[in-house]
Structures are given as structure tokens and as C-alpha cells.
Symmetry: D2
Subunit: 502 residues, 4 copies
């Protein structure tokens, strides 16, 4: 069975031919993997360390075999250990500090309870940040049931804290694949409660409902989907005429995109390289393959710290931008011998070939910041003449017969998910976007949304941004009536046409 | 009659009620002015100085009253002085050095003569750069007749050089308004030659043909329009169902936009301020109103030179970008007292009000980089209690009764058109885009283009970019067959979807 | 007894009144602490993690109570476990990759063996990087005996690897204070071998020899000292007329200073903040107290990543530099309420007072990059009305009665030593400088150096730099004879006067 | 006779063998030229344009042949035209706006009149900025007589304005060499007034007094000298034991150096290139020869605007800095074929050779920002096979037989003096330093200064900086008593040791 959001060494493989079969109507394994990129996944990694003290319990009993009761007497949940609730609560409180947009949304919308009556089933990573989202939805009037979109990413303490306040959570770290679907099923299939909204990350929940409980969709007002993979599956459903409710693609909102790509990569490339290799950036020769938003973010940060950066590109427009931004545009083969660091951000495969790996100099660091695990031809390095030496977590030295070492990070998987953390602020953007999408779909007048996939309306995208401005003590200017008229704009936005490039 | 592209102090006013009337079906005077922004206009200014030695001729005779013959014996042209051809030729040669994309286009397309049979009437600024474009069109097989889109912007020597090699040019610096329309008419209305392509900058030529020779459009395969104003007029024609041929909006191509806005402003804001005020940038407190492409360009350059920059914005998404890029987002009134420089880039009106001008500190510099002449409320400064002192060309000191001086640049008009130059490279992007648009429309199979306004196809936009990469010695990477298949792309592009944000 | 180089929570306190007494002739405890800043100390921290797998041995026996023999049959050493030598060797090999300057020095000077006859006693941190230095000294002809300058910083495996190849090393991680002096004594006090060179880091070795074996100095040709503390003690000895041999202050060489301060802080401020707090830099309001080299490094990096940085300064020249570099110069009290991050780099005390800590906003991060542990008045925070909560290693939340949290890093100690790593390249600069200083002192003709403290000659400083240029594939230009004559320079340097500011 | 400060095409050559002879005791012609670099010289150029309207008078009469009287009835002056005083006054007022440090110095020191009794003879460029200095000296109690240090640099209107308020000025634009010395003589040699202070720029005044009126030095309390040339001459005098009074070298004060070099070049390199060539910086490949302060300033600005910059260096320490700052260090010959722009900042000769000029690509721009006129081997370009074409003022195309053009700016002279302006703020730093140096020397107690050349005391250097901080609204922090004691500093400075590198 596939969990496309697996991370690092823990990535699980398809083990069951039948399950594989079952998914074949949807994106293929390869396709999904090449697309999968949801920043929130990294919460796995950052959590792992943060919560390690409480997690090393010897309790090997499966949560499914235990009966637990929260302090209100309810046992409608299944988590690792309800007693960890207090610790989880503190994690949530810390996350709240950087998610003031959601807190402010709670305050603004609390009076009117815009989600009163909403029965939301959610399937996402279960982290402190997600908890802030869930508790916001509850504060706005919704009832929620929640499960995990990844078998490894659940913060057990946070799940316990949610269960403790009465949110039925079915998730723990280290689920089996059977557990995974059992948890989803437990969320959906419950007596006397029928979901009318779905919040999904990856499309597994949506898929399960389609397979097992298609009639549920009669009551569902909409699906909100965050991941590239899940969005892809929705568009395919829509294309096939099988999408029976409106769906909101929050992955492609402007605000989320800029933060997930340009800004997040600008922040995390340095961190990912430093934590793994303690490299000094000054004077390093770096080639960045691809000058899209991810590449632009990486290049900005590296150049700023004194690296000498050049670019490879296939698209002449992006290449021209690189030139104007002060980066030489080269072919990889022309420079590969001189480089200290090679970073891929193309979304393509075999961007760094074995032949090029052979020509790298001793000590060259190779890593991937792009969507695809196959940008670096890592498979070609698993050959008998080369020796692999694991020198740190996520760091392998590949040693050539002549003693040359190439330093491969995260085995070619996404560096910033594997080796650095994602700021809570970035997750706040996503969570706020999800909350607004739910409110919009739930409250939309009949007919505004058809059985199709929609982007968040520009105005709500702007609203997400505006909720985050107070973090920066930023003061927005308001149009005068005269100016609004002159510009042909509504004073409250939207302020730009849909095609505006930002 | 309106010449919306006038510059600086020479701006001409509507003088003829009838002419004014005549235009009223098209964009109103105010609307057009607020929109008008064609970078090539600045060639006026840069030329002015460059050619001043030859231009101070005492010859007051109107070119219309003289008979001139070029060395081939032709007199089918009307320029100031055909004898200046040699000097003009040198100017053209210098321009060619920075327009290698067009030269390369000549070479690539010369064999097949893709414009063989094209009869192009053009109405643009007549500068050395335009001449390189015209001679490229000729080299590709076209016949051309040309006139000026602005009564002041013609480089007389260049016009002479074109006439000398046999291009019928009707244009000189300092035309009257009657001359202006006479020249256009002379281009279009000629025996035994009927245009089948129109290249326009501002829409006056198109308008004239619509008014006087509507039947011409039966043969015309398309219109290529560069300016915001002209494009606006075309969309209005289209909306009104009056556009009888396909038109190409080259103003909004990605490459042109980035160069006209982000990159061009990054280059010119420093230049414009320095040439007018000799200001030192280090440590200056600057507020930039508007964080669109123009504002982003200005902020990047100023911050890089050590200025301390803050931003005003109405759009929360742009405001959030400003925050992430390291600029404080403020309201103008909060900071106005401390600022050393105030720059407007909003496209809006009265962004800087008289009340704010009153509160500025002594020596504060105020200027406009945006579309509109009314971003700064300059009109409010023309009041009896304030003294205006012209201290240099384009620089006025406005003196308050208490002695405070505010330094106003270019009377609030576009600073970079008035007070700095536009690199030939930027003009090369535009000219190449125009040439490709002409080729596309002229060769398009029947039915590809309807009677509507089109954007340049993405692939041709990419081609324009690729023609300019050799200037930077940039080496593009080519997709392998396997990679192209994996990405679902054609190896030759287009490489991005239309909505891609770059 | 004082070990001024202790780190993090492991900092040891004076426990023995007598030992304390003994040092009182030298810098006072406070004085030494405020001065102490030797970058190499951080090797402690970076090591801790790197070697943790092998270190968790249950062996509680003191190395002093064990008899160990290396494979050559020697037992003239005392390390934790000689069997760890192989693992240590690999660590040394990895370090060698980034210390090519020393390797190249080995090659250049190996023929002539410039240290033949040198008997060096060294007292430094014992890390892989130090091992590369020691093995270089051996390769150049020296005999070496080594001990640790810090009771916690020894990498046991590296010590074992050195002992294995026959270098008498007396050091292990977790020495008692008695062990510490016993190890020093074992290095110096050995039959049939008398040191003639001293390499010290902190001055403890030098002090011990002065106290116990003053006659040794009759044969000693010089002392090389790296740390601020040790240099301070040497200058005091010199001032008191008690310095009986030449000493070389390598701490203040230009190359080392720039790397230890400007460049190293530019690299490490981001890393230190990220690893501890996962903060997003974009848009953060940061005040940096002090605009010396350390402050300049911090500001450069933070501004580059999108933070909005302002400065406090007492020195008008540095303040003017900050202005020109684009930073607002403020008083801390003016801005303290708005700041997201407060960083001290002044070398002064009580730069951040309790009163200012009281006024910080919720979530404000406070840390120190400067010499002194007392820049932030941390002591004032240890009061009953405030709650301390340790949320991660090196991260405390200080909680005010109203719930406000201030995030204090490393309890106000040096952030980059506590919470980030120092690139091997920086350590390479220092080690190369030490090696050249030893060569210079050992080979200097009689009379070149008196009983005084010297800076490394400019020419050798330049040589250190030149040995590191190949790391960057940098190609130096050589003066022609004519040019050298014109400039009045020797073609081989020195190229600048001593007072040149770089 | 030599005027080493001549500019641009107007540079005068030695014409008189005797005069040449006379100077031979002092720096040789070549030596002086290679050293000469006084920023204030550029006031010549900036003025030239600014005042051109009033200057085109037909009055060919030599000022020496006219009798003029100011409105107070005095004729103790010799200027071009006393009637231009009013226009000059306005120029002075404008300059005052950016020289608030001097105005503030007037206010602070006016009560005590620290220059009461001072009789100052000055020989400097006579510009609006100098006038602000002179009027400050007068306000502080001094009597002044003034002459020009350059035969072309006098702003006639400013000279008139000074004469009008009673300062005896002897200077006009376009003096002959005989006039030059006559003016100096008229300043010094006047009945009933004997100078006791000298302010010199270039050393000509000092030289004249030494030659003609050596006895004057009995009363002179000191010489203040600003230029590299003049300082060099003073050090030679001192070395030769011929300096009979104290002299203050203000050229080498920290504040002045940073502004004249790093900051000023950062500001002016872009301006100089843009005004001459309208070059677009984005993506241009630039090599900067020399990474001293001038080179660092140029590189910072160019990189910030998107140029791709590499460096040549002879000094490994500067080269290592370049690496860490993100610039490739190359030999000129390795990259010369690819470069778009070549900039010299070495102070050396023949840094760009004919052989390298031969290999440059078509359109390459070559210019000099360094001290020496001979950094580019311009002489080698004056050979018959090459054609020179002057395309603009200060811009020559050198055309090779195959048609290749190299664009040479300012004939290899200092670009920023020839082709850009120097901000008044930079001149304010220098002028304030001069004023303080005069005050210090005039008031120093007997014995503080011997017959030697001194640097401005660190504390006064800091004071100059502090007087300029209000321009940036910068707020300095004051040490508490406790902090000052801890640091061992006086609360009022000096704050750094003399060798501090800033």
C-alpha cells in the first residue's frame, strides 16, 4: 500500500500487490511520487527530535488493543497514550505563538460561528500546528474527527491532547498499513454522525470514501485538498466525470505557493546544508539546477552568504532571469569538475547523471531541493565498484575506487524535508488557507460551486495574507474612495487580476 | 490633438477642440494618459543629448517644403536633412552592437525570408534602435514605410539614414500636429502599394486607417501593438466588435514586462536620482509607495546601495512579500516626517498628498516611477504661498514660507523616462518581440487568429528570450528525450503553462 | 580551579580556593572570562554529537588506572581507549579534506624538515583538526607531546589515533581537575626529553611550566599562543618583566581575526538561531548591539535573509559605518518593544538590562554573540517572579507573571560556540598560523626575537592566506618586476604596511 | 609647472623646464601623479555643468587687470566677477543643506571662538563646499585668506560670494600658471597680516612659503594637509629634517578614508559607467583589478545590481577576502576574452596591457577607478593601426583593424572624478576633518606636537563621525559608568585602539 508522503529512510514501499492494484485507477506510483510535495510533511522530522524523550516508551501494545478514556469519560478515539495529553498541550501552546493568524481568525469569526453545523473529517499530518487548525475549526462551530495521512508523522502527545479535549483522533506514530486504513475508516464510519466536509492531504481519505461509502458524498458540501498529489487525483476524478462535489485546491493559492517555494527554500537551503555537513558557504562554488521559485530561493540565500553560484536551465525565460539576477547560466557538464556543491531543483529526473557524478571533485556535496527523488541518479551509485559510508544521519559518502568521495545528502530525497525544519509561520499560511477554504465551501450559496476543482478566490488569498501581516507589524494602506474609483477597484479587494504574476 | 507620449516640459496640450472630439470614442484623455507607458519613449531623451551637435541647424524650412533625393534617386520620403544619413548610419551601427538578437534573427531567418510579401506600415519612435528593427524586417523580405508616433522623438539623422537606403520614412523632430497626421497619411496613402501589416505604438496609425481607409483592413493580416495605450484601444475596439483583423498585444509578453518593469527600474532608479540630485544613497531613508514589479525593482537597487527602505501597499499579498524581502510596511503618514526620499510606483493618483508634502522634512526628494503623472499631487503645489525654483533641468525646489524646500523631480512625471536612459538591451527585447509578432501574424495559417487581440504565444516569448541569451554567454541545457517524456514537455518548449508566474 | 573554556551547561566552577589563589597573580577570574574567546573551543560541541556512538561506553575506569599499549608497543600516553584509534583515524582523514593548507605545507616543507630538532609540548583542544596540525608538525620533523586545554573537549578516538601512531597524548573527555594538571605534568615532565617549543591555548601549560619547571625556559625557543586569554596573560608577564622567551601572539593575525569574527559570525548566526528556534528570518525585526566585526558579520547575514536589522553603537565611527551600510542606528530602549530578536556583540556587560527584558514582546529571542557572558543581564532573570522552562537543549523560556515568554539562548553565553559548529576551514586558518609561528620562532636567527610578545610577521600572515587560496581555486596575480619597482614592493610581499585596515 | 590635480581633457602638462626643475626636490612628476587623489577635486567637474550658464561670459579681461570693489568697499581680493556673488551665495546655501556637521560645529564652538586669533591661509579647490568650510572658520573666530589649488576648479560665483562678505580670495577658473603662483603669493604676502595657520591641498602653498617666505614658519602653529600628494611631500620634508612646524595629515583619518574610498566608490562606479555608456548592469561580466577599499566598493555595487564580478589580486589576504565575499579570483589573462567591463583599482601601472586590450571582445568597456593614470596602458593604444573615435565627452571608441571596438572611459583617468559627481556629504566629512585639525593644532598646548606629521587624534576622528550622525537620524548609545569602567574606556571616547581595523 502506498504512503506517498513517507520520509527519509523510513519510506515505505508497496508491499501488497492488491493494494497496488486498487490504486491503479489513480495516479501511478511513479507519477504520484514525482509530484508529491507537501511542506507540512516535514513536521515528521522536526517532531521526531522534539518529542523523543516521551516517545521511547517500551509500550509495544498496539493502540487498537488498548481501551483508553479521556478525563471527560469518552473513549471515541485511538491514540498511543492519552496520558501524554499535557505534554502535547504545551506543544500546541508553543505553536499557537507563531500562528496568530488562526487565533485572530478565531476571534474575528467566533461570534458568527461560520462552521456551525459543519461535520469535518480530516486526514492530515497530526502535529502541534495541525492541532491549532483543528481547534480553530472547533472554535468556529465545527465538529471534527481526525486521522493521519502518514503512518510515521503523528506526534503522539498532540494526538493525545486533542483526544483529551474531545476531538475523536485515530492516529499514532508507527501505524501499520492496516492500521492506517482502519484509522481512516474509524473516522468516517461512525454511528449517528455523518460528515459533510472533507479536509484531505494526499487524497487517501477522499479515495476511501469514494470506494467504501460513496453515498456519503450526497451530504458532503466540499473537499479541501492541500497536496500536489491529492490535487492531481482530484483533477483526474474531475476529468473522468467522477467528482460529485466541489473541491478546493489550496495547494495553488499564491500565498501558499510563495511561502512553500521561494521563501521556504531561501530559509531552508542553508539550514539543510549546515546541519548535515557544517559546510562554510563563503567562496563555495555552487551549481543550482533549475531557476524556478525553488531555485530562486536557494540562489538568493547562497549568494547572500558568499557562495559563487551558477545555474542550469532548460527554459530561456528563466535563464534570462538568472542572467539579470547575476548568475552565470551554464551546462552542468561544463562546470561539474569545479563545483563544491550541486543542488537540483528541476522536478525532472536524471538531472545529475552517473557520468557527471564520476567527474565531480573530491568532497563535492550533492543534494536535491526539487519535487522528485530521481533528480540525482542515485540508483546508478548503488553499484559494486563504489563504497557507501554513512557518516551521519542523512549523510553518505560515496567512495570511488581512487578514493574520491562524493557527499550525498538524504539519498537524493528532498533536503529541506529531510534535514531541516519548516518554520511554523509557513505552516500557518497553509492552515489558514485550509480554514478559509472550508468556511467558503461550507457557506457558499447553492450553485456558486459546481462539481469541479476550484482555486481559492483571490480575495480569500488576500485575506490569508492580511491575517499574517500583524506578525510583521505591517500596516496596510487603505484606498480612498476616489482612488478606488480611479483604479476601478473595490476598496476591500481583490486588488489584482487572477493572472497577476506577483 | 493629443500626443500622449510627450515628455518632460515639452508635453503638448490639446489645442484643437475638434481633434479632441474625434478621439472621444477611444480612451479619454485622462484614461489614456494614466495608462501610457512605453519604454521606448525614453529614446527621445537619450537621443536629445546624443545628437545635439548636428541638430542645432538654423534650417527653419519645413521638410514638407523641401525636395530631397537620396543617392539612389528616390524622393519617396520626407526627413529633416538627407545629408545627415552618414551620421545616422553610425548611430545605427552602435545600436546594432547591443541588439545582437535582431542581427541573429536576420541570419537565422534570412534564407527563408519569412516576411517576403509583407508590406508593413510602421508608426513608432524613430531611433537608432527602431532602425535596427526596420532593417531586420527588410532583411527578412518585408517592404516597409515608416512614420513617427511622437512629434518630438525622431532622431533626424537616423531617419535620413533609413531614407538613404530606400525606406520611405516620413518623420522629423519637431513636427506640428498637422505634420504628424500628414506623415501618417503619406505612409499609408501611396499609389500602387497597399499595406498588409501594421506595427503601431500608441494606436494613432491604426486609428487613422480605421477613420480614413477602412477598406485597407481587407488586406491586412494583422496589427502588432506595443504600448499600454494602444493595447487598451484595441481591446476596446474588440469589445465593441469593431476589430476586423487579428491584433497582437506585445506589451504583455512576459519577457518584455520583466524588462520594462522589474529590471529596467532596478537599473534606472539610481541613475535617475543621481543625475538629478547627486544624492548619496548610503543611509538614506526612503519610502517606496507600491511593491509591484516597479516597486520591487526600485527597492532592490536602493537597499543594495545602503538606503533604508520602507514600503506602502494596499494589497496584502504584495505587502507580505515586502515583509519577507526585508522591508517594513508602513502607512505613508506614519513615516513622512523622517523620509529623505519618497518614490511612487502605484499607478494610482494622489498617493502623495499636499498634506503629506507639507509634513516632509527640509530637502526631501519626491519623485514618481509609476504609470501615472498624478501619483504625486503636484497640482496642489502650484499655489501662491509656495515658491518654485528650477535648480536644474527636471529639478524644482518647492519652497515653503518657513524656508523648507522639497525637491521635486520631473514635475512628478515618470523619473526614468525623464531623467535617465533606457539600455539598448531593453529596447532590443521589445524590438525582437515585435519582429516575431509580425512574422507570426503574417505566416499564421488561415484561422489560427480571429478578429481579436492575442498575446504572443508562450513559445515565441521563449524564443525572444533565447535570442538574447548569447549576450550573456548563457548556455541553455537541452532536455533529453527521456526527460521531456517524463515532464510531458516538447523538447523545444513551451516549457511552462500560460499561468506560470516566473 | 578554573577552566575558562568550559561550554554550555557543563561549565565548571571554581571549586578549590587554593587553586583560585594560585591564579590570582594572573588575570582575575572575571577578567579572563570576559576575554576568553577561542573559536576552536567549539570543537567540543561539534564533536559531542559526531562521536556519540562510540562514547557511550560503560567503562568507568579512569584512564590513569589502566595500562594501555599501542600496536608499536609503546605505553607513553594516556587516553580513554587505544582501541578506538581506527575510528579516530577516519575522523582525522575527513578533517584533512578541508585542511589542504596544512597538507600542502607538509609537502612544501617536508624536504627541508624545518622543525627537525623541535620538541614541542602542546596544550590545545584535542580534535580531528588538531590532529591534522600535530601530524603536520611531526611530518616537518618535530617531536610532539600533547595534552588538552579543556577537560571536556577531547575527542577520545582522535586521542587514541594519535597515541597509536606514537604521539604521546595525555587527555580524555571528562577529566577531573586533578587529571587536567596531571596530564599537563605528564607531557612536560618526562625523562630524557626536554621541550624547546610550547604551543598553548589559554596559557595553562605555560603557567604550569613557569610554576613548576622554570628552568625549562632556558631551552625553550618560543611560545605560540592562540587564545585571547592566553595572549592577555603573556602581555601581563611581559609587562611584569617575567617573560623569559619570545612569544608569538597568533590570535591577532589579520587572517585569523577576519575568519574568527566577520566571516565566522556571518556563517554561524543563522545556524545558531535556526538550530535552536527554527525561526523564520524573513521580515523579522532584529536589533544587533554592537557593529564591530562580529556585529557586521551578523548583520550581513540577517539582512541578506530578509530580516529588518537595526543597530546600537557607542562608537560614532562604527555607527556611521552602520548608517552607510543601510542599518538604522538606535538606542536599545527606543526599539525594544518591537523587536523579534535581540543579539549582543559588544564585549561589554549589561548591554541588555532587566528593565529592557521586562519590556520585550512575547516570544522575543535574546542571545549573545559577543565575548562576554554578561552582555545580557541573565542573573537578573533568576528571580522568583519569573519561571524558567527549558524547552530544548540551550533554549530556555523565561515566563513573566502575565504569561509573556522571552526565549533565551545558551543562557547568554556565546551562541555560535554553544549552538552551532565552526567550519573546519576556519580551524585550518588557525592551525596553519600556529604551524608557521612555530617554524618562524624555531628557525629565527639569534636576536630576531627578544623576550617579548610578537605578532606574526605580515609576510607569514600573507603566506597563511596564500596556502588557503587553492581551496577556492583562486589564482593570484604576480607583480612584474616593473610593477614591483613602481610600487616599491618586493614581488613576494609583504604587500601592505602593518597598519593597513583590510 | 605642475598642477597635479588637473582633470579630464584639461590636464595641463609640464611646460616649463625651470619650474620642473624647481620641484625636483619634491616628489617627481611621476611619483606625484601616481599618488594624487583628492576627492574634492571632482568638484571641478560637477561644477562645470552646474554653473555653465553664468560662465559663458565673453569677458576675456584677466581678473588681474581689473579693479573690483565689494559692497563693503574692499578690493583686497581678485576674482572673475564680483557681481556674480549673489548666484554664488545660493550655491553655498544649497551646499549648507548637506553639510549640517559644519553648521552644527559653528553652533557648538561659536561661543568660545576656538579660532579667535587664527590667521589662516588656505589653498584648496574653491567650491560651494569649501565656502561652507571657510565661513565656518570665520564663524569660529579665524581670519582667512584663500587661493585655489587648481587652475580650473574654481567656481567663479562662489569666489565672488566669498569676496563679497570680506574674505580675500584670489582665484578664478582658467588661471595661467603664472596667475596660479601670483594668487598664492597675494594670499601670503600682504602687509600687516601674517599667517599663523596653513590649510593646504597638494602642498603648493606650503612649498611656496618654504621657498619664498621661510621666516613665516616662525609664527605658524601648524599645517593641515588633505591630499595624498601633499602628505607625501610633508613626510619627505620631515624625513629630510626640514619640517619646521607640526603638520596634520587629514588624508589618512579613518572617517575620511572610508568615505573617500569604500563608500564613495560604491556610490560612483555605477554613476560613472551609466552616465558615459548607458550600460545595463544586469548579467554583465565584470573584472575588477584590485580588492582594496576602492575595489571592494566597486564590487559591492556592481554585484548588487546583477553584474557577475570577478577579481584580480596580488595580495593573498585581499584575495582570500574576495573569495569569502563571493568573488572568483582570477588572473586577468584567463578571463579577458569574456569580460564586458574591466575596471582597475590597484594603484599600480600597466595592470591592463596592450596585449590584453588586443584580446578583449568587441564592445568591452575599460576604465580606471584607481589612483594612477597608468593602470591601463593607454599610451599603447595611441598607435597608427588603431583608430580613436570620440563618441561622447569622456568616451572614446578604440577601433581595431578588424572592426573590434574597445570603449575607453576618461582616457584611463579616474572615472569617478571625470564622469560622476561626489556627494556633498563626502566633502562634508573632509571639510569637518580639516576644521577640527585646524582647531586642534591652533589650540594644542606647547609641546603636544613637535615638528612632525601627525594623524588626527582618534577622538577627533570620532568627533567628526559624531557630527555627521544627525544626518541619518542616528542615535548613539552612551556607556554607563559601570560599563565604561568594565571596558576600561572613557565615556567620551576614544573607543578603539589606534590599530583598530573598522
Amino acid at each position: 500500500m502506498a504512503h506517498k508522503h513517507g520520509h527519509g529512510r523510513e519510506r515505505i514501499q508497496f508491499v501488497n500487490a492488491e493494494d497496488k492494484q486498487e490504486f491503479s485507477k489513480y495516479p501511478t506510483k511513479a507519477g504520484r511520487r514525482s509530484l508529491s510535495r507537501s511542506i507540512s510533511q516535514s513536521s515528521t522530522d522536526s517532531y521526531s527530535s522534539a518529542a523523543s524523550y516521551t516517545d521511547s516508551s517500551d509500550d509495544e501494545t498496539s493502540p487498537r488493543d488498548k481501551t483508553q478514556v479521556n478525563s471527560q469519560g469518552s473513549s471515541d478515539f485511538c491514540v498511543k497514550n492519552i496520558k501524554q495529553a499535557e505534554f502535547g498541550r504545551r506543544e500546541i501552546e508553543i505553536a499557537e505563538q507563531d500562528m496568530s493568524a488562526l487565533i485572530s481568525l478565531r476571534k474575528r469569526a467566533q461570534g458568527e460561528k461560520p462552521l456551525a453545523g459543519a461535520k469535518i473529517v480530516g486526514c492530515t499530518h497530526i502535529t502541534a500546528q495541525t492541532a491549532v487548525l483543528i481547534e480553530t475549526l472547533v472554535a468556529l462551530g465545527a465538529q471534527c474527527r481526525w486521522t493521519a495521512c502518514n503512518i510515521y508523522s503523528t506526534q503522539n502527545e498532540v494526538a493525545a491532547a486533542l483526544a483529551e479535549i474531545g476531538v475523536p483522533v485515530f492516529a499514532w506514530k508507527g501505524e501499520t498499513e492496516d492500521d492506517f486504513w482502519w484509522c481512516i475508516d474509524s473516522c468516517v464510519n461512525t454511528d449517528g454522525w455523518q460528515t459533510n466536509m472533507i479536509l484531505d492531504d494526499g487524497g487517501d481519505l477522499t479515495h476511501w470514501v469514494y470506494k467504501k461509502y460513496p453515498s456519503v458524498f450526497k451530504k458532503v458540501r466540499g473537499i479541501v485538498e492541500e497536496s500536489v498529489t491529492g490535487v492531481h487525483r482530484l483533477y483526474q476524478l474531475s476529468k473522468a466525470g467522477k467528482l460529485s462535489v466541489p473541491a478546493m485546491n489550496v495547494n495553488d493559492s499564491v500565498t501558499k505557493q510563495k511561502f512553500d517555494n521561494l521563501y521556504c527554500c531561501r530559509e531552508s537551503i542553508l539550514d539543510g546544508l549546515k546541519r548535515t555537513t557544517d559546510i562554510m558557504f563563503g567562496g563555495k562554488q555552487v551549481v543550482v539546477c533549475g531557476y524556478g521559485e525553488v531555485g530562486k530561493g536557494c540562489c538568493t540565500a547562497l549568494k547572500a552568504l558568499g557562495a559563487i553560484v551558477c545555474i542550469t536551465e532548460i527554459d530561456p525565460i528563466c535563464a534570462l532571469q538568472a542572467c539579470m539576477d547575476g548568475f552565470r547560466v551554464v551546462k552542468l557538464s561544463e562546470v561539474i569538475r569545479q563545483m563544491d556543491v550541486v543542488i537540483t531543483c528541476t522536478g525532472n529526473k536524471n538531472v545529475v547523471t552517473r557520468e557527471q557524478l564520476d567527474r565531480m571533485k573530491n568532497g563535492c556535496i550533492v543534494c536535491n531541493m526539487g519535487h522528485s527523488n530521481t533528480e540525482i541518479d542515485v540508483a546508478s551509485l548503488r553499484s559494486p565498484e563504489l563504497t557507501w559510508e554513512r557518516v551521519r544521519s542523512q549523510v553518505d559518502h560515496i567512495i570511488w575506487p581512487d578514493g574520491k568521495r562524493v557527499v550525498l545528502l538524504a539519498e537524493g530525497r528532498l533536503l529541506n524535508l529531510s534535514c531541516s525544519t519548516v518554520p511554523t509561520f509557513v505552516l500557518s499560511i497553509t492552515a489558514t488557507t485550509q480554514a478559509l477554504a472550508l468556511i467558503e465551501l461550507f457557506n457558499a450559496p447553492e450553485g456558486r460551486y459546481k462539481q469541479d476543482v476550484y482555486l481559492l478566490p483571490k480575495k480569500m488569498d488576500e485575506y490569508v495574507a492580511s491575517l499574517h501581516l500583524p506578525n510583521f507589524d505591517a500596516h496596510l494602506t487603505e484606498l480612498s474612495d476616489e482612488q478606488a474609483k480611479y483604479m476601478g477597484l473595490n476598496k476591500n479587494g481583490p486588488f489584482k487580476p487572477n493572472y497577476y504574476r506577483y
